[in-house]
């Protein structure tokens, strides 16, 4: 669920139609063979689409809806339900900071607020150069690295705000 700061006005829909790249189409076909029905492949397909375009806009939804003949409202429901599917434009790198019990004990929340102030951005809104989107997440399952942060797909051990900012400087 997006946290309350999620803007409620209609997200800007890029109008040119979306389509899977050739490679993604292959993986899509292979994905279908894994399941006994088409709907079960929805989550992996949405992951695939998000890796290709960064975030899931209206045109992505209509494309997947026609491709898998799933009603659009069902896809919108799924996208808005899960934290890792984004229906708002996000930066190139997704930085998830854990603010749950073990990490908050070691300053996870202060680090998250500090990063927001440092990059002067809000929940999930990309920084001006479109490089980073910060996301406040619940327990990321790496409590021994508390306070823990995830950058794109890997865990990053940080000790405090300065080490976190240092780690994010190197990102492309």
């Amino acid at each position: 669920m997006k946290s309350p700061e999620k803007s409620t006005e209609k997200t800007p829909t890029t109008n040119e139609p979306f389509a899977f790249s050739a490679a993604n189409l292959e993986t899509y076909k292979e994905l279908l063979t894994r399941y006994d029905d088409v709907e079960s492949a929805l989550l992996p397909v949405l992951h695939l689409a998000q890796e290709q375009t960064g975030w899931l806009a209206e045109n992505v939804i209509t494309y997947i809806s026609n491709l898998m003949s799933i009603p659009e409202i069902k896809i919108k429901e799924v996208i808005s339900f899960y934290d890792m599917f984004y229906d708002v434009p996000v930066g190139r790198n997704i930085v998830q900071v854990c603010t749950n019990i073990s990490c908050s004990m070691f300053g996870g929340r202060e680090i998250y607020q500090g990063l927001l102030k440092h990059f002067d951005t809000g929940y999930l809104t990309p920084t001006r150069d479109g490089r980073i989107s910060l996301q406040k997440m619940e327990c990321l399952g790496a409590c021994e690295l508390a306070p823990c942060m995830r950058v794109n797909d890997d865990f990053v051990a940080i000790t405090d705000l300065t080490s976190a900012i240092h780690k994010l400087e190197e990102l492309p």
Partner: protein, 492 residues
């Protein structure tokens, strides 16, 4: 096209499965084995609070109001997800359950906006009804309520207010199971969950959403702010929109009729009705409806005394063209009023419109009482076919007077206009209009008011051959006489 899923209609009466008897709050009730426990309680008139359960939809089990306790089962469980078994002892009046329902209702009302003064559902709202019985009268909720988008027009005459929604998912299940159009869904997670429509509503049964929504989240745009429901009285009658003949109730008071809602009818329409049927009340109390006999003076209709019309018509040979929207009793009375005099009577049947069956309820054949009419014509020995009508129309001459009963609901005006053009040759033309005075009636000499479907008691025969009653509500057109009154003019 998928097998028409008429809810419970096509289902032949299953052999009476063996009945089981169970105790509910100490009262013995009987129910079919394996049937829904909550349905059994409601059928036996036991009051069980419920929001998400609806007999015509699947079980969601999310509102958690119908919790019951069973001897030997420590945990309370929702009765809508349980089936009837032999000798079950169920209680929903124990203090534990009462407290649970009270707390759950407070949870329902927690983020519910204080909209009762401006909400159309007030008076028949599920929250209001249960609040009186199960309410926590001193709520401790002093925080800011969660806000969601209010006043949204989602098309097809339905307004959505996501803040009032208690997320019982009845509407989402309706668009998924009954109309298979998947237009409504619940976005987001937790208490930011919100009912939304995908672009807009497109199906023909959208206004059923307004009926099944237990709160004021989905309200009808046509009825918006028109009247408070406690000022209205319901008249149970039948829809004359097409040959299905759904059982409906029309809410009306002395100022007029305001809305039409379906009534559960096991054999014909189940719980639903189509959107076209929702407008059948409009002509009954509309200001442009003919209220007294009137004469056509170069295009303007001026009220005139009936007797003067009778004198004008004397001596001409009368011919009648009846519509298919009349009741069986009216046909019988009309034919008996002719008392066997040699006169030609034709039947104007409306043309077939759109698909002959849309898979749920709507049918293309718009003649409400076609079978009743054909039977009455045959009994009285008149020709009810199209050729018979054409024969009468072609043989019209200047010394004939033709009475045309205008169909109450005209979906296809130009087909009717061809009929009117054909009657030009007659010497004197009289129109018996139950509905509004249409512009095309200018060619008629006289207009005579006749009662609309909401002002007469009688029966019509629907497509299955079942007779469905029409009941008169508050009659406003006191002056209008029924068809047989004009039938007597034959021997004047």
């Amino acid at each position: 096209m998928t097998e028409p899923i008429k809810t419970e209609v096509a289902k032949t009466e299953a052999a009476k499965a063996d009945l089981v008897n169970l105790k509910w709050n100490g009262v013995d009730i009987q129910a079919e084995k394996g049937s829904n426990l909550l349905k059994a309680a409601l059928d036996n008139g036991i009051e069980v609070a419920h929001y998400c359960y609806h007999a015509g939809l699947s079980i969601a089990g999310v509102c958690r109001m119908c919790m019951v306790e069973q001897d030997g089962n420590p945990r309370a469980f929702p009765s809508c997800n349980a089936t009837c078994g032999e000798g079950m002892v169920i209680r929903n009046d124990t203090p534990k359950i009462k407290a649970a329902v009270e707390a759950t209702l407070q949870f329902h009302l927690l983020n519910h906006p204080l909209d009762c003064p401006v909400c159309d559902q007030a008076g028949e709202c599920g929250l209001q009804d249960y609040y009186m019985k199960h309410g926590v009268y001193d709520s401790q909720m002093i925080d800011k309520k969660v806000h969601k988008p209010k006043v949204q027009d989602i098309g097809k005459n339905v307004m959505l207010d996501a803040e009032r929604c208690i997320l019982c998912s009845r509407c989402a299940r309706f668009t998924e199971e009954v109309t298979h159009t998947h237009e409504l869904g619940i976005l987001n997670r937790g208490d930011h969950a919100e009912i939304t429509v995908n672009e807009e509503l497109k199906n023909d049964y959208a206004q059923n959403l307004v009926d099944i929504c237990p709160v004021g989240a989905l309200t009808s745009k046509d009825f918006r702010f028109k009247q408070r429901v406690w000022f209205l009285k319901d008249v149970h009658t039948t829809c004359i929109g097409c040959e299905t003949g759904c059982s409906v109730k029309v809410s009306q008071n002395k100022n007029g009729a305001y809305r039409v809602k379906p009534v559960y009818d096991h054999d014909v329409n189940g719980h639903w009705m189509c959107d076209d049927g929702r407008n059948i009340y409009k002509h009954v109390s509309s200001p442009t409806r003919l209220s007294s006999a009137s004469e056509n003076i170069n295009g303007l209709f001026v009220p005139v005394d009936e007797l003067s019309i009778q004198s004008k018509v004397k001596g001409l040979k009368p011919k009648y063209i009846l519509s298919t929207g009349l009741t069986v009793e009216e046909y019988a009375q009309f034919f008996s009023s002719l008392k066997g005099s040699k006169v030609e009577v034709g039947l104007y049947t409306l043309p077939n419109l759109g698909a002959d069956f849309d898979g749920i309820l709507k049918r293309g054949d718009k003649n409400a009482n076609l079978r009743g009419a054909k039977a009455a014509f045959a009994a009285a020995g008149f020709d009810s076919t199209q050729e018979g009508l054409d024969k009468i129309l072609n043989s019209l001459s200047s010394n004939d007077v033709v009475y045309v009963v205008i169909p109450e609901i005209l979906y296809n005006e130009d087909h009717f206009n061809t009929l009117i053009k054909k009657t030009e040759k007659a010497g004197m033309k009289l129109a018996l209009t139950p509905g509004e005075t249409l512009s095309t009636l200018r060619t008629f000499n006289y207009l005579l008011p006749v009662p609309s479907f909401l002002e007469k008691n009688g029966n019509i025969i629907n497509h299955q051959g079942l007779s469905r009653p029409l009941r008169a509500g508050l009659n406003y057109g006191e002056t209008s006489k029924d068809i047989s009154y004009y039938g007597k003019w034959v021997n004047v």
